[in-house]
């Protein structure tokens, strides 16, 4: 592989750097113990993003992760030979841990981190300007800004992100639901992407496990239709306003929701 090829690659990265992240994921362990942030706290935390939910909000956050988080200092992106973990950096085969450590000592963080942070700040500011008090938390999950939205405003924020000039996250890339029995809620996450720049943000919402209900995104993103049906089927989340909320994977007379952590087959 020649050097100019690599330069090409760098150029490309800086071109669509907004989309993908680098290895600047903030390990939850570092922020463990911090309080859930109010929206003001989030606004402050934009510069140094952190996981806002309490440590309990993420199972296994206590697990002692030996990896230190990568250095947060911004550094010129071009110096890194390979951007991102999956990209090979020449012949040296460095395993993850040493790479991370090296990253701290010698090489600057992933070039994708800075744009991701900027995106986080920008989107957060815009949401808060229009809908104050709806963002419960904001963080970077690997290089994707992630906003925890209040349930009532879930659809409004999604619509805002989709239609607002300058945001235009028109493409619902994926939706997923996750059950957190210990914390007592079910989380629904949606990834929205701006096409063709490939800039992605995630939004998520939480609903209590006992009677989970979330406003449906189908009026905003028709593509959410089957994803929501799947989440309804497998996790039991009721999507209010969904035009056709039926089971999709399991038979209509199935009992229970298999993807819940406490699910046991009905006899």
């Amino acid at each position: 592989m020649t050097e100019d090829r690599r330069d090409d690659r760098e150029a490309k990265h800086s071109r669509d750097s907004g989309a993908a992240g680098e290895n600047g994921m903030v390990p939850p362990g570092r922020t463990a113990g911090k309080d859930a942030a109010s929206s003001e706290a989030v606004a402050e935390s934009v510069d140094s993003p952190r996981t806002v939910p309490p440590s309990a909000g993420r199972p296994g956050t206590e697990s002692s992760d030996p990896e230190a988080g990568p250095a947060k200092g911004a550094a010129p992106a071009a110096e890194r030979k390979a951007a991102g973990a999956a990209r090979p950096a020449g012949p040296s085969k460095t395993a993850a841990r040493s790479a991370a450590k090296k990253g701290e000592s010698e090489s600057p963080p992933d070039p994708r981190e800075a744009p991701a942070k900027a995106l986080l700040a920008e989107v957060l500011a815009r949401i808060q300007a229009t809908y104050p008090d709806v963002v419960e938390a904001a963080e970077l999950t690997k290089f994707i800004p992630m906003f925890l939205i209040k349930r009532d405003a879930w659809r409004d924020v999604a619509a805002y992100l989709r239609t607002e000039e300058g945001l235009a996250f028109r493409y619902l890339e994926a939706m997923a639901g996750t059950d957190y029995p210990k914390e007592g809620y079910i989380e629904v996450v949606a990834y929205l992407t701006r096409i063709p720049e490939a800039i992605t943000v995630g939004i998520k919402v939480r609903a209590p496990r006992e009677a989970p209900a979330v406003p449906s995104l189908v009026p905003v993103f028709p593509g959410a239709n089957w994803e929501e049906r799947e989440i309804y089927d497998l996790l039991g989340v009721n999507f209010a306003g969904h035009p056709d909320l039926r089971r999709i994977m399991m038979p209509d007379d199935w009992h229970g929701h298999p993807l819940r952590k406490d699910y046991s087959p009905f006899d």
């Binding site: 991102g84 090979p88 997923a176 995630g202 993103f221 593509g223 994803e227």
Partner: protein
């Protein structure tokens, strides 16, 4: 006169039907042969892969991904290992990355070949099916040589690939490329200019880019509307930024565009395979991945360009060696959503043409 009405008929197309490509059921309401309403029913092949994965170590999930889109299992393998490697910032040996790209693109070709064959079979042309199977068979043989399996490869591992290519394999791949070009030329001669074929697919099942984006379509289903959206270019992963290839797009968003894009994409995949075979370095094929893969706690989303569209992997790690939650964003599943609105007002024959062009694999839809 007014009370003489034609009878409406409810018809189950599938789950056992030659053209649903698996166990898909489409409940169609027919007036004569015109479809008034269509409702796809899925789930016949639901195996709960996502639930099963919660009890499996990351490397143990890889064989399960083989069963999703079983026509492009290499790409599924990669989607998972890529997501985990991204999360852990693993570095992959060069040779492994090249091998991955070669097998992925070969698999894309095999999958597209199969699409072309079955699609034309759906439209009543029998011979192309057998022609494409010859080339696909050679690809499958090559996969057999490199990983010992013809369909469910289980080839990739977190940190690299399981096996190095056997001696002479790369040359075999290189020699294979012109062969596919010949087949594609033949298909072009036999089919693409055929008046009957054109009448069956041109202008059928057309939609525009806004509809496609709104319905979260991806892959060829999105590109046929003229939108240049290919994750290999728009959000480069692996070593795709080293290769010179184009993203062919359609114009009208109809079945014809979808068909022709499969041919054009095969050509681009061949170019990538050629370049990768020329550039592939020597070296190990497995990086220093930990024995127990434990991605740092957090949630991750990454996506690759699968054979049928954007194949995404979302997973939540709690720092243990098994995912807390694993979710696949399956392109077929989302692409199928638009089907009911495409079918309304069409006739039965168009149902097959439209459904076939969506190019679904039920193993992936149901997951």
């Amino acid at each position: 006169m007014a009370d003489i009405r034609t009878e409406e008929m409810l018809m189950n197309v599938g789950p056992q039907h030659p053209s649903t490509h698996g166990v898909l059921r489409v409940v169609v309401k027919l007036d004569g042969e015109t479809i008034i309403d269509a409702d796809p029913v899925i789930g016949y092949l639901h195996r709960g892969t996502e639930k099963l994965a919660e009890d499996l170590q990351y490397n143990q999930i890889i064989p399960y991904t083989d069963r999703m889109d079983y026509l492009a299992a290499m790409l599924n393998n990669y989607a998972l290992v890529h997501a985990v490697e991204e999360a852990m910032d693993l570095e992959i040996p060069e040779r492994a990355e090249y091998l991955r790209v070669i097998v992925m693109e070969l698999n894309r070709i095999a999958s597209h070949l199969l699409f072309i064959g079955t699609y034309l079979l759906d439209l009543g042309a029998m011979s192309p099916f057998l022609y494409v199977f010859q080339d696909r068979e050679r690809i499958v043989q090559m996969f057999n040589e490199i990983c010992g399996a013809r369909l469910t490869y289980n080839y990739m591992r977190i940190g690299g690939v399981k096996w190095d290519a056997p001696p002479g394999w790369i040359d075999k791949v290189k020699a294979f490329v012109p062969h596919v070009r010949k087949t594609m030329g033949m298909l072009d001669d036999l089919v693409t200019g055929n008046e009957i074929f054109l009448n069956r697919v041109k202008g059928i099942g057309a939609y525009d880019a806004d509809t496609a984006i709104a319905h979260s379509l991806s892959g060829i289903n999105l590109r046929c509307t003229g939108l240049k959206w290919d994750l290999r270019r728009n959000r480069p992963y692996s070593i795709y930024d080293r290769f010179d290839f184009d993203i062919p797009v359609g114009e009208n968003g109809d079945c014809y565009d979808r068909y022709i894009l499969h041919l054009k994409e095969m050509e681009q995949s061949l170019r990538i395979v050629e370049q990768a075979c020329d550039q592939i370095p020597d070296g190990p094929v497995m990086g220093k991945a930990p024995k127990f893969v434990r991605p740092p706690a957090g949630e991750y989303f990454s996506a690759i360009e699968g054979a049928r569209g954007e194949l995404g992997v979302y997973f939540v790690s709690d720092g243990k060696d098994k995912p807390y939650r694993l979710k696949f964003r399956r392109p077929s599943f989302l692409n199928l959503q638009l089907l009911p609105s495409l079918l309304k007002g069409q006739n039965m024959a168009n149902l097959i043409a439209i459904l076939g062009a969506v190019d679904i694999v039920l193993g992936e839809v149901d997951c």
